[in-house]
């Protein structure tokens, strides 16, 4: 958006501006340190209340770490696959949004609006309940376990949002590129795949990464529909320990894990955005 009387509206400040607006280049580590400090404080506080006969909260966290790590890795696996699926489908849908055929454009618009505006959790329920648990093709039965269904459910909103990013990027390429390619006798398919889309990749990268971070955080929703990922594990652990003083430490611990994974992505996205904006 270009406004004649305003500077650009930027949700993330440029690296050079960080000093002024948010107190130094503390983005990568200081917030993590703060969160870590909160965790340590809560562990110590819980420790102070614990009876002598009980195991220390810290040792409990350590004890359950391998199990939590397993759950967390499963979350990451879901996020990778949903992103892959969502990106492939999203690029196709984004291309349909700039199609020359009006019916294709219209249909893809409806699909994009639908999946962008529906809540993620409702879409997840939708796929979970309404997709069969196995497919029969010929004589073979292909099982369709819950985690694959939840991956598809999470890929749907990603698909719609990637489609919007693709469309935006295609339209942001100067029309001179199209005209030059046409004058060199490229056909439309060649122009799109060989000239326009390669230039779009760079423009799309920051938003694509942003959506990946959002998706990773959304994978915890799968626990609500019965996939055993990290939050399900946390539920089992708290039930097994049944100690109220253990609750704050373990939830902070999981929050810290997600933060340590998603925050660097956010920082890198910001840096890329700023670098591309300067050119």
């Amino acid at each position: 958006m270009k406004l004649s009387v305003m500077l650009p509206f930027r949700l993330s400040p440029k690296p050079g501006e960080l000093d002024r607006s948010s107190g130094g280049g503390l983005f990568v580590w200081q917030t993590g340190v703060l969160l870590f400090a909160a965790l340590v404080v809560s562990v110590t506080a819980a420790q102070a209340q614990a009876l002598a006969s009980q195991a220390s909260v810290f040792s409990l966290l350590l004890k359950w770490t391998p199990l939590l790590a397993q759950g967390f890795l499963f979350n990451l696996a879901i996020s990778f696959m949903a992103m892959l699926l969502g990106t492939v489908a999203g690029v196709m849908l984004g291309l349909a949004r700039v199609s020359l055929l009006a019916p294709v454009r219209g249909t893809s618009w409806v699909v994009v609006q639908f999946f962008r505006n529906a809540p993620w959790l409702v879409l997840l329920f939708f796929v979970m309940f309404l997709m069969p648990f196995e497919f029969k093709i010929g004589g073979h039965t292909i099982p369709f376990p819950d985690w694959i269904k939840s991956t598809i459910g999470l890929a749907l909103p990603i698909m719609a949002n990637i489609a919007e990013i693709v469309r935006g990027a295609i339209q942001s390429i100067p029309s001179a590129q199209w005209e030059a390619a046409r004058s060199l006798a490229f056909n439309r398919r060649q122009i799109l795949w060989q000239i326009i889309l390669p230039q779009c990749v760079k423009r799309m990268l920051p938003s694509w990464m942003n959506w990946y971070a959002i998706l990773t955080m959304a994978t915890t929703l799968a626990s609500i529909v019965g996939v055993s990922e990290v939050m399900t594990t946390v539920g089992h652990i708290t039930a097994a320990e049944s100690r109220t003083d253990f609750l704050i430490p373990i939830y902070s611990y999981v929050l810290l894990w997600f933060f340590l994974y998603c925050y660097p992505i956010a920082c890198y996205t910001r840096r890329l955005e700023a670098r591309f904006a300067e050119r």
């Binding site: 509206f9 130094g24 703060l34 529906a118 409702v122 329920f125 929703l221 956010a266």
Partner: protein, 243 residues
């Protein structure tokens, strides 16, 4: 009203499409209650988060470096962790610590959903406000200073009107996201639309029909919000600003 419910009854008998919310008064009241809770939750959270978001955005400009760091840490923390885990953290970890009044906890699931979502939305709103204020060029503020405006006057008559207009699309996006995020209340049994619909479909075994009703309802809410915000943007339009 009677003819509508009669028609849906007929639809059920002839085609098996079971939309109980249109003819069963109990199901209908549950569905409407859920819808109202969702709207109420969104309205309360948006008002609170606009208020706190403005405060946090103001604290961003503080001269105390530690205050700025704290505020920045708060914003980054809530933006980069899963909202569902945040809600669980408040409801399951902080909730039991609060004293009980007459056997019942001070904050129920709805109360905790308001707290958790408000903190989440405050982090997002604060970022939007900060970006909006930063988009006002220094020269404009200097011009206002030269005309003898005080700091408060500059904010009221120059920075705020410009920042409001430039932040409108982002605020709209945020509001839509909030409505979608209220569905997370399902996880802690907040009686919002998704939870109530879940109760209906588990009793009536009409998952497909309720799912479609749910999706249409949410998309309509989002559509109405988008229309309203577009109307606001048009009303706030000033010549020479934008496009």
């Amino acid at each position: 009203m009677d003819s509508i419910s009669a028609w849906f009854k007929w639809l059920h008998q002839t085609s098996g499409i079971k939309l109980t919310i249109f003819y069963d008064s109990y199901d209908r009241s549950r569905f409407i209650e859920g819808l109202i809770t969702t709207l109420e939750l969104s309205a309360i959270v948006i008002v609170l988060s606009l208020f706190f978001g403005a405060i946090v955005a103001w604290l961003y400009g503080s001269k105390q470096i530690w205050l700025r760091r704290f505020v920045s840490a708060f914003v980054q923390l809530f933006r980069n962790t899963p909202p569902l885990v945040q809600i669980y953290f408040f409801y399951f970890a902080i909730g039991p610590l609060l004293p009980k009044v007459g056997g019942a906890p001070i904050l129920g699931s709805l109360g905790w959903a308001i707290v958790a979502l408000t903190l989440l939305e405050t982090a997002f709103t604060a970022e939007i406000f900060r970006a909006g204020v930063e988009a006002v060029p220094k020269a404009t503020i200097e011009a206002a200073q030269a005309l003898g405006y005080s700091r408060a006057q500059i904010f009221r008559w120059v920075v705020f009107p410009l920042a409001l207009r430039v932040t409108m699309p982002a605020l709209n996006n945020n509001l839509v996201n909030l409505v979608k995020t209220t569905t997370l209340g399902y996880a802690i049994a907040v009686p919002e639309l998704l939870y109530m619909s879940g109760q209906i479909w588990s009793e009536q075994v009409n998952v497909t029909e309720m799912m479609i009703v749910l999706l249409i309802t949410y998309i309509s809410i989002v559509g109405v919000i988008n229309q309203m915000m577009q109307w606001c943007e048009k009303k706030l339009y000033v010549p020479g600003f934008g496009q």
